[in-house]
């Protein structure tokens, strides 16, 4: 038995990776729910973003490569003074190809993917806002609809664009995020204890991991130190107070839902272009719901959201390594149990065995001026 093996550096390393999409989605939900809009559509928004970021990144890389080859062929033909061949070769990249190849000149493909993912997620946020803010519909039902919409549309479009059974081609080269080595990681790696932690655990992730980590203090500052944050929190507690103070409830809530969309977009983009290389059907696998559970666990507070998502990330990471668990505990744990563990833990948390969570008071209720 070796309990310490459970905290193997490689497990902790993948904890950070797996916690990142959870953290981003959790903060996304935090903005929305702090403003009084429940969002069980985090899952769908992430999925939508994952698909569009992977799909667009793939289209950009494929077309840019294609354009390069075509350009080469044209250049060769021109060099041979073969106008006809050059002409027909040039036709190998036209329309869509030119567009994506052109776009690839401005930004790396993966960033274009991220933008596409964020836009896609924002679109779903808009739908959610329309249903739950403008038309005062049921926020839970709207969230359910968004989850199904994303589950269906991603496969539908993936099949239409790539004909690979509802997935995107694997992302290569500039289509996905590369790990970043932080300064001095090499130099420090020799230092006992701290060295490996810095070099392997802290350094060497893709940039979106750091974005997610920075989003925690960012969210805290925005929420508790700015006018916007004061109003956002107020609108989730008592929208009438905000309304009578001359501030638009609808406007504030749309902004909150929009921020939620952006963060879910980044989360989805990270899944498809950072954690994995491409989109596969239903790749979010319930992460949106785990993020929601983390949000409740964190009692809607940014720093607690970080700890909660790290915990869930760890559970996911350790579930991938039954060998370590067996080694550490001395017996075999059923893989299905490990798969179900995050969900079981969520239920335990929701059951209030880990303290009672009080949600924002106006949460889930559409704002109607009283008669």
């Amino acid at each position: 038995m070796d309990i310490l093996a459970l905290f193997d550096l490689s497990v902790l390393d993948s904890t950070v990776r797996l916690a990142t999409p959870l953290l981003l989605a959790c903060l996304a939900g935090l903005f929305s729910e702090r403003a009084g809009i429940f969002d069980i559509g985090l899952e769908g928004k992430m999925l939508f973003a994952a698909f569009f970021s992977a799909a667009i990144a793939a289209l950009v890389t494929i077309n840019a490569e294609n354009a390069e080859q075509v350009a080469q062929a044209v250049a060769d033909a021109v060099a041979n003074n073969d106008q006809a061949t050059a002409q027909s070769a040039a036709e190998g990249c036209s329309g869509t190809c030119r567009f994506f190849a052109g776009v690839s000149g401005w930004l790396p493909a993966v960033w274009i993917g991220v933008l596409a993912g964020v836009s896609a997620s924002l679109f779903l946020s808009l739908v959610h806002g329309l249903a739950s803010i403008t038309f005062r519909g049921n926020q839970l039902i709207s969230g359910v609809a968004i989850n199904f919409l994303a589950a269906g549309m991603t496969v539908l479009i993936a099949q239409d664009w790539f004909q690979q059974g509802g997935r995107t081609p694997s992302l290569i080269g500039g289509g996905r995020f590369e790990p970043i080595t932080l300064p001095f990681a090499e130099t420090l790696s020799g230092v006992p204890f701290i060295g490996p932690i810095y070099a392997e655990l802290i350094s060497g992730h893709s940039i979106l991991v750091y974005v997610a980590l920075l989003a925690v203090p960012g969210t805290w500052w925005l929420l508790f130190r700015t006018r916007f944050g004061l109003r956002l929190r107020a609108v989730g507690e008592n929208p009438a107070a905000v309304d009578t103070a001359g501030v638009s409830v609808v406007g504030l809530r749309f902004v909150a839902v929009g921020i939620c969309g952006v963060l879910c977009g980044i989360a989805g983009a990270y899944l498809a272009t950072g954690l994995q290389a491409g989109f596969v059907k239903d790749m979010t696998a319930g992460r949106g719901f785990i993020a929601l559970a983390a949000l409740i666990f964190a009692k809607w507070r940014p720093w607690h959201a970080l700890w909660a998502t790290l915990l869930f990330g760890y559970l996911q990471a350790i579930a991938l390594r039954p060998d370590i668990i067996e080694g550490a505990l001395g017996f075999k744990v059923q893989v299905q149990l490990l798969d179900a563990l995050p969900y079981i833990l969520t239920v335990v948390i929701l059951a209030g065995f880990v303290g009672k969570a009080i949600p924002p008071r106006a949460g889930g209720e559409p704002y109607v001026k009283e008669r």
Binding site: A131, F135, G137, V144, M153
Partner: protein, 376 residues
């Protein structure tokens, strides 16, 4: 105050929502480069053009009646049960255990026992979220979602590690014995001279689903318990005042809901597959949400909506077979139906209310205005 007449509320609003969902679905089909008219034609021929098509349509509709009723009963109690999927999975496990380990002399007794097994397992799976909601205030929407994931893990474990016949690689149980085979529509209708397709899976469970519709209607609208469930769903405080216990109603409504979702298994597990496979439910639990919303949680509405979704499901399968439109189109349509009939309800209702109000004002005689003295 009610602005709209009842018929507008019950028929016009859902109908317009449905039309909007249909228009958007057509646009989606257009966008992926297919012809919506041709697609609809193909769906109609495929789902309704033959007794084979009807057999599948009604088979799916049977599933959706059970899950739609399940969601409806919970809705009446003000509870949103997203766990139909997991409850139906566990219902399947219940059916499999009942049929695999007890030798039944005849399908009729087996059906009764299997129905009970399905209902008990489904109800038990709903009981934990219900208890946590009632006693600990854990949000039932999230817990039922979690229980769907946990159910998948449980089923996976049971099929892979426990129920899989020796030597089989397939995560599925052995086939049930021939004596518990349920008569399908071909066998049921042949004696009265109707030649129904032999290959279609619709079976006697359809009759049970229809009986369930009637029983749920009786329960909700014709019994004191139904009044209590509806009261609790409308106003928890009023229910408390009347001595209608929150814990009791939450538990009863969710147990009934879970039992109904679980009972779906007599159709798909006992009636169709005749063994339990891993992905037996195929999202029917979720479609129950769309069916309940479209049917306005009324059993007759659920019955009609279930048949519509049965048609969409079978039609969608035909589309996937003959065109390059994947089956996920149905998920999109389902999402749009939920969105328009559930969440964007007011988008349709608000303008309609204005129209009805204007019509009423025009009809009513103008109140005579007395010239009012300027104040002071």
């Amino acid at each position: 105050m009610d602005v709209m007449p009842k018929w507008a509320e019950v028929i016009l609003v859902p109908l317009i929502s449905l039309i909007l969902a249909a228009i958007l679905s057509a646009l989606v089909i257009l966008a992926i480069g297919e012809d919506p008219v041709a697609a609809v034609n193909l769906m109609i021929t495929g789902a309704l053009g033959s007794t084979y098509g009807w057999g599948y349509t009604l088979y799916y509709a049977t599933n959706f009646m059970f899950t739609g009723l399940a969601v409806s009963v919970a809705f009446h109690a003000g509870l949103f049960n997203i766990g139909g999927e997991g409850q139906a999975m566990l219902g399947g496990l219940g059916v499999a255990l009942v049929l695999l380990f007890i030798p039944w002399p005849h399908w009729t007794i087996a059906l009764l026992a299997a129905t009970a097994g399905a209902a008990v397992f489904g109800a038990l799976w709903a009981a934990i979220p219900a208890y946590l909601q009632a006693k600990r205030g854990s949000h039932i929407v999230i817990t039922t979602i979690m229980f769907n994931f946990i159910a998948a893990a449980v089923l996976n474990y049971m099929l892979v590690n426990q129920l899989r016949p020796a030597g089989s690689m397939d995560p599925a149980t052995a086939r049930f014995v021939e004596t518990v085979h349920l008569p399908n529509l071909h066998e049921m209708l042949a004696p009265i001279g109707i030649n129904f397709s032999k290959a279609a899976p619709a079976n006697v469970s359809l009759v049970i689903a229809m009986i369930a519709c009637v029983l749920v209607w009786l329960l909700i609208w014709r019994t004191p318990l139904g009044l209590e469930i509806r009261s609790y769903g409308k106003s928890g405080r009023a229910a408390k005042y009347a001595g209608i216990g929150a814990v009791r109603i939450t538990m009863i409504a969710m147990l009934i809901s879970g039992a109904l979702a679980g009972m779906m298994a007599i159709n798909n597990v006992m009636g169709e597959a005749e063994r339990l496979v891993l992905n037996a439910v195929e999202g029917a639990g979720f479609i129950g949400i769309a069916v309940a919303l479209m049917g306005r949680s009324h059993p007759f509405g659920v019955f009609l909506a279930a048949i519509l979704f049965g048609f969409l499901y079978q039609g969608g399968a035909e589309l996937a077979l003959w065109t390059s439109i994947p089956r996920e189109l149905i998920v999109v349509i389902q999402a749009l139906v939920i969105l328009f009939t559930g969440a964007l309800d007011n988008m349709v209702r608000m303008p309609l209310e204005k129209i009805f109000l204007a019509a009423r004002m025009a009809r009513a005689p103008k109140p005579d205005r007395k010239p009012t003295e300027p104040a002071e």
